[in-house]
Symmetry: C2
Subunit: 193 residues, 2 copies
């Protein structure tokens, strides 16, 4: 593909293009990236449906419709799948704060889930959007912070030092598996409290 | 635990107890088994929420309620997770037929999903309830039948010959990972058309 007016180097190399995806929410960017990974036979990763509690259902003319329901909290993380034969499990979070990512964004049972996945030799992580950057925070770095720092939020500097920056591109819009490769190449994700 | 009137051998050995779980539906049995696996730190497997399409939502007093929605079809399989560091993906199906399992029970995109998971070195399978027995049909055996037999249903005899019988017990009610162990011990689940 050719984009007139854009420096050729950027077109080919898929270098980070600032603000390219601004305005598109994180979930949308990840869904597009996951579609790309499936199409290119790179990984099979899906977002789980939002859990719904149902109060009332109508049956009419063999048609079922839900007439009263409510959103429930996911007891796990939102995304999971398989990449290079490995089990992946992650969640996507956005924060408007420029200085810290509040741990209140992650539920207690999600932290427990991350512990379990790492313990079972899977790769658990968070994708965090902060200051118009996208970070992949490995689950073990998250758990280390929670277990060793008596703080209610993760400072931005901790992300800069412990998370991987996910480059934005045209397609996939967020190539987070390229960031994950760096972790996978180091070996299994290990956490010992 | 002690159950008066039940032969001690059966209590201890967790031998298959016929009709023990009769009346409980397959999904319930699998959810209980998955809870057992998590509690005992054996595997982390969850059923995905049923996908819902939403037409209308009400906002009142900071409370969100869904007032019109409909059930959507899962584009993947219902259950996935990690066991012995391996990615698992499966669906549960029941049939009342005593002679054959209709392939119409499995959607086209689910079959494609099974192909992809096996291709990416995961373990995909079906758990089928038929004739009051529970079978674990490995994904590669399912694909082989679909690709080589010009039939619209899988005969019961094919299950007897190619699937593994899942033993019923007290807890877990359906120890399907014990059946899966037999497959895992043979090595990777491979399918070549």
């Amino acid at each position: 593909m050719n984009y007139p007016g854009i420096n050729k180097k950027y077109q080919i190399a898929h270098e980070p293009v600032s603000h390219r995806n601004r305005g598109m929410d994180l979930e949308k960017l990840l869904n597009l990236s996951n579609e790309y990974y499936i199409e290119k036979d790179i990984a099979i990763i899906y977002k789980k449906p939002t859990p719904i509690g149902i109060n009332k259902v109508n049956y009419s003319n063999s048609h079922v419709s839900i007439k009263d329901a409510y959103f429930e909290t996911q007891s796990t993380l939102d995304y999971n799948g398989i990449y290079q034969g490995k089990y992946l499990d992650f969640d996507a979070k956005e924060t408007l704060s420029k200085t810290a990512f509040a741990l209140a964004n992650i539920h207690e049972h999600q932290i427990l889930h991350i512990r379990r996945i790492i313990h079972h030799h899977g790769y658990a992580f968070l994708i965090i959007k902060m200051n118009n950057q996208y970070f992949l925070l490995p689950g073990n770095k998250l758990l280390y912070f929670i277990d060793h720092e008596n703080r209610k939020s993760i400072p931005y500097i901790y992300l800069l030092e412990n998370a991987l920056i996910i480059k934005e591109g045209y397609n996939p819009p967020l190539d987070y598996l390229k960031a994950l490769d760096i972790i996978i190449n180091k070996g299994e994700m290990i956490y010992e409290n």
